[in-house]
């Protein structure tokens, strides 16, 4: 029998997900399916104009629909919440539109009824009149500040680097992050080769299969909100702020999520559900339809102008990055995306002179937030396409050119933070080995041409963020973990239980992980940016270690011999005379962090670096432009995997999600109207889109400061895929696409343009 100091054998175990059986047998709890006694259903009436002053909202016909309980507009909301604006970075988003609407789909009024179909029918009877105002949709155009989305900026005060924007007028720029390292202008002037390209990404959706859902149950002495939220602690803080209440009167309960991907972060439907429950004095549920995803939160479209200087030896001497982030009508977490991803916009390369300008912009579109990568996939798309284009233009092997310029451990990244525990070169080498990069490649014949490409990326995890965990050992020795990390499909409950089991020497299956409930589970920043396994993992380990130390104290107190393995239940019984008592361990983790200086530089930007890359082999049908990915390779540095099987499914899942964003997903927008706002017209990858060969490799590494050597995984395989495919298309047929998605028509048009037979636009 092992003593407490020996390994519990739980780390590195491919344990099936603890909740898997409940999920596949339909027993798992989701907000979307929950009912409360006396509950009303809310249906939202939305704006049909992109920017306009509200002249009137006629709710009379809706009120007359039999079964309607009430119809509310912002006039009603203002009666119960004086300042009904919310948001993580800016308090700019009204619960219901006040005076103006800022995007098509913005909530204007709400119908409540016991029957959701009645509410839906009544919402369709509401008529609003608007005085339309000029609107701006393009991020680069928005930066010119000719058409303004908001009269004045309203930073939330949560983030120090946004404070200078308070009260600023006449601008659409919600954050301008700048980084200056060396002197790019001087370096460009002396560089024998200078390359400049512009890349764009499109507007796409998170599209979790469980749409957003919140139920608010407001009472005079407290409110309980059940929500499909990725960050219950943040929701509690924001709801308490809106109410002017202490946090302990606000309870946020989060069951399992049917996916999140960043779309359920911070605060979404919770404030609206709260306001409706305050007005109705009954529990109110808002559960979105699939179509309402298109009017809630999206990924940021971007324009990225990137310029590099290369010396005669092939060293990149300077890189200038200008990135415009299309944040839509409300900031959400866009300013964070703009800054945090901005740190690494120049890529995983050792470049002496770097200039980065990253702008968060308001436009009259559905708001944009974080989507599996926190902005990194948009940046990698540009810098790994650009880097490949430089290599090809200089007639250098793309692998050798990258290796010549690659950052390595011990070197400072653009911010000045020294790289540590990064396997960038190993990841790159493994992709190249799997692709047999050095060996001849069958380039196809006839109409079908084959090519291959790859890309590698670096991300600084979002910092500083805090996690708290509690481990509770009961008198029979059974153990419960309280942590706020939301399991939205990534397997965090299983991984956290494995860590508790490792420390306390018990099978992970025996550890109870309490569903998230802010009355019970302690603070956590949120389940975002691949941070939980590292941050919460460290908090969980500390909590378990504290419990283990207390168990050790108890053994000594009871006179147990050193190395005794007397069962825990016996210890409790001996101490308390019966099966009674608890041992509670707590753990708090917050990494050290130094905010960037005026030049965007800091020696500690992140507690850990994320590294991953992708490689593909493709076939291009030159007669139609169709691209078929015949082999897809993801290689990632995850530190030591806690649960290798779940890591692999996280890599394959992220990669397939990015495959959709790379190849075909796109919100088509015409004058601010989304013209394909349904799953019939907006397709995500299906089984037929999965490449016939898909390989996921975890390189052998160890994250020194991570829990049991581990670090974050969830976003990794989204990073490199888009540029890997574009690079492979260039390799196959010699055309370069600079805008996502890489549709068959886009490839075909590029092929025709190359042959001087451009295809008409009709």
């Amino acid at each position: 029998m092992a003593t407490a100091t020996l390994s519990g054998g739980q780390i590195g175990r491919s344990l099936p997900r603890l909740e898997g059986r409940d999920k596949v047998t339909g027993r798992a709890e989701y907000t979307h399916l929950m009912q409360l006694p006396g509950m009303l259903h809310a249906k939202i009436f939305r704006s049909t104009v992109a920017h306009g002053r509200i002249k009137s909202v006629d709710t009379s016909a809706a009120r007359k629909v039999p079964g309607v309980y009430a119809v509310y507009t912002s006039d009603d909301v203002l009666n119960v919440i004086a300042e009904p604006y919310y948001g993580p970075a800016f308090h700019d988003q009204p619960i219901l539109a006040i005076g103006k609407v800022h995007f098509v789909g913005e909530p204007v009024a709400v119908v409540l009824a016991s029957d959701p179909h009645v509410a839906d029918q009544a919402a369709q009877q509401i008529v609003a009149e608007y005085e339309e105002l000029p609107a701006v949709f393009d991020e680069v155009e928005a930066a010119e500040n000719k058409t303004l989305v908001h009269a004045e900026l309203k930073p939330a005060g949560t983030f120090a680097d946004l404070k200078h924007l308070k009260g600023r007028k006449g601008t659409n720029i919600a954050l301008d992050f700048g980084l200056r390292r060396g002197d790019v202008d001087k370096a460009f002037a002396s560089a024998p080769h200078v390359f400049e390209h512009t890349f764009r990404t499109q507007k796409v959706l998170h599209l979790p299969l469980e749409p957003h859902a919140s139920i608010a149950d407001y009472r005079d002495d407290g409110v309980t909100i059940y929500s499909s939220a990725q960050g219950p602690s943040f929701v509690r803080t924001e709801i308490a702020r809106l109410l002017g209440w202490p946090e302990n009167r606000v309870r946020i309960k989060v069951p399992y999520l049917g996916g999140g991907y960043g779309g359920k972060l911070y605060i979404k439907l919770e404030a609206l559900a709260l306001a409706m429950s305050m007005l109705a004095r009954r529990p109110v549920k808002i559960a979105h339809t699939m179509e309402e995803h298109f009017y809630t939160i999206t990924k940021h479209p971007t324009t990225f102008r990137i310029k590099s200087g290369v010396d005669q030896d092939g060293r990149i001497t300077a890189r200038k990055c200008e990135v415009w982030w299309n944040g839509g009508a409300y900031a959400d977490i866009g300013p964070r995306v703009t800054q945090k991803s901005g740190f690494t916009a120049s890529g995983p390369y050792d470049i002496d002179n770097v200039s980065i300008d990253s702008y968060a912009l308001y436009t009259n579109l559905t708001p944009a937030g974080a989507l599996r990568g926190f902005g990194i996939p948009q940046l990698v798309w540009a810098y790994e396409s650009h880097t490949d284009m430089i290599a090809r233009a200089l007639k250098r092997d793309p692998l050798e050119f990258r290796k010549q310029n690659l950052l390595r451990d011990g070197q400072p990244q653009a911010t000045g933070t020294i790289l540590k525990d990064t396997a960038i070169e190993k990841v790159l080498d493994r992709i190249a080995e799997r692709l047999n990069w050095k060996r001849p490649f069958d380039r196809g014949k006839g109409a079908v041409r084959r090519g291959r490409g790859f890309a590698v990326a670096l991300k600084a995890v979002i910092s500083p963020t805090t996690s708290v965990a509690i481990v509770n050992v009961s008198a029979d020795g059974s153990t419960t973990l309280y942590c706020g990390t939301v399991d939205m499909g990534q397997g965090s409950d299983t991984a956290m239980a494995q860590m508790v089991g490792e420390v306390l020497n018990m099978p992970a299956e025996s550890v109870r992980v309490v569903p998230r409930d802010t009355d019970v589970t302690p603070y956590d920043m949120g389940t975002l940016g691949s941070r939980s396994l590292f941050h919460m993992g460290l908090a969980v380990r500390l909590a378990a270690e504290e419990a283990r130390a207390k168990i050790g104290d108890l053994r000594r107190e009871l006179g147990e011999p050193e190395g005794s393995n007397a069962p825990l239940a016996d210890l409790f019984r001996k101490k308390y005379g019966m099966q009674a008592g608890n041992i509670v361990g707590t753990g708090i983790y917050k990494p050290d962090y130094i905010p960037p200086d005026a030049n965007g530089l800091t020696t500690n930007v992140t507690p850990f670096w994320m590294v991953a890359g992708s490689g593909v082999e493709i076939e291009v049908d030159t007669e139609t432009g169709h691209v078929r990915i015949s082999r897809l390779i993801n290689v990632a540095d995850v530190g030591k995997p806690i649960n290798p099987k779940i890591v692999e499914t996280q890599l394959s899942g992220a990669s397939l999600m990015q495959l959709g964003f790379s190849m075909f997903e796109k919100m088509h927008i015409d004058g601010g109207q989304v013209t394909n706002a349904s799953l019939a017209d907006y397709k995500i990858p299906g089984m037929h889109d999965v490449p016939p060969v898909m390989e996921n490799e975890i390189v052998d590494t160890y994250q020194t400061n991570g829990p049991f050597g581990a670090k974050g995984v969830g976003e990794l395989a989204t990073f490199g895929l888009s540029p890997a495919i574009a690079n492979a298309i260039d390799d196959a047929v010699g055309v370069r696409l600079t805008e996502l998605p890489l549709t068959a028509e886009a490839v075909f048009r590029a092929l025709r343009a190359k042959d001087n037979k451009p295809l008409g636009d009709e």
């Binding site: 339809t289 139609t624 995500i684 889109d689 028509e745």
Partner: protein, 290 residues
């Protein structure tokens, strides 16, 4: 979606009688895969739906009648066709087409009659059925009539059915030595609606094409026969030169429209390529096996 009356008549006569041709809020419902989406979106708000589910076995029966002709009840689910040995023998191209038609959930619920009556130009089966020369039986208050699937489809979601006429049966003539192929060409996800559909059914002696039906769909307002392309092919060998002539004729005569799934100019090029590929594929197919 508000409350409505759902009737499930047990006879065709009753079903027809329950449909009020002058009331747009009364409609028949078969599998409902399209109609339910329209109801969820608020585009269609029924007062009464007349379900055809309880009309009896005769309306779901799939049978080979004399000389290899297939008769299929209008209420047969698409998956019943997909898995029917009778269909596999009589018109294997239908089984091949069904494998990539929408998804298994839709195929289990959607019916062949409902799919035809819906007349969405993106559907995969109408061009195939037109190429095979299929006909339908239609029943109304004044009795039965038959028409070709080609005559059924008159425009974008438009048919030649009266509001109170119901499709009762689909007839696929014996294919004999005919060879057929269908290409569903998507521009995005493989699960998406097609940008272009091309169906070909032909008879050949040696390398010489004796008869051919070529049908374009998805890129056009309705599934449409391309008769100039057919003429270019008939009497010639399916060589590169003839196929180019045939494909150019197809592009010239098809009225291609732009949508989210591609510009008209791109879809014309897709048709040029896939018309030839469909003929080649049909030539390589033997009429009698999968």
């Amino acid at each position: 979606m508000m409350a409505f009356e759902l009737l499930e008549p047990a006879s065709l006569k009753d079903a027809i009688a329950l449909i009020d041709p002058d009331d747009p809020e009364v409609r028949p419902i078969a599998g409902g895969t399209a109609l339910m989406l329209m109801m969820k979106a608020g585009v269609f708000r029924p007062r009464r739906l007349v379900s055809l589910r309880k009309l009896g076995e005769a309306f779901t029966c799939i049978a080979a009648v004399s000389a290899g002709e297939l008769t299929i009840g209008a209420m047969a689910p698409l998956s019943a066709l997909e898995h029917s040995p009778v269909v596999a023998r009589g018109a294997p191209v239908i089984v091949r087409t069904l494998r990539r038609l929408s998804n298994v959930r839709v195929r289990n619920v959607a019916t062949i009659g409902g799919a035809l009556a819906h007349a969405d130009p993106h559907m995969d089966l109408p061009p195939v059925l037109i190429a095979l020369g299929a006909t339908i039986s239609v029943a109304g208050p004044d009795g039965e009539r038959t028409m070709g699937v080609e005559e059924l489809l008159t425009g974008y979601y438009e048919t030649s059915l009266a509001k109170n006429e119901l499709i009762t049966q689909l007839h696929i003539p014996a294919q004999g030595e005919a060879r057929a192929a269908y290409f569903k060409v998507t521009s995005g996800s493989a699960d998406d609606w097609p940008s272009l559909g091309v169906a070909v059914a032909l008879r050949a002696e040696g390398t010489i094409v004796k008869s051919a039906r070529i049908v374009v769909s998805a890129a056009t307002a309705k599934a449409t026969r391309l008769k100039a392309a057919e003429a270019a092919l008939i009497g010639a060998g399916a060589d590169d030169k003839t196929l180019k002539k045939m494909a150019d004729a197809a592009v010239d005569e098809a009225d291609i429209i732009a949508d989210l799934r591609g510009s008209a100019s791109y879809k014309r090029e897709l048709l040029r390529v896939y018309a030839a590929r469909a003929v080649r594929s049909a030539m390589q197919t033997s009429g009698a096996s999968l």
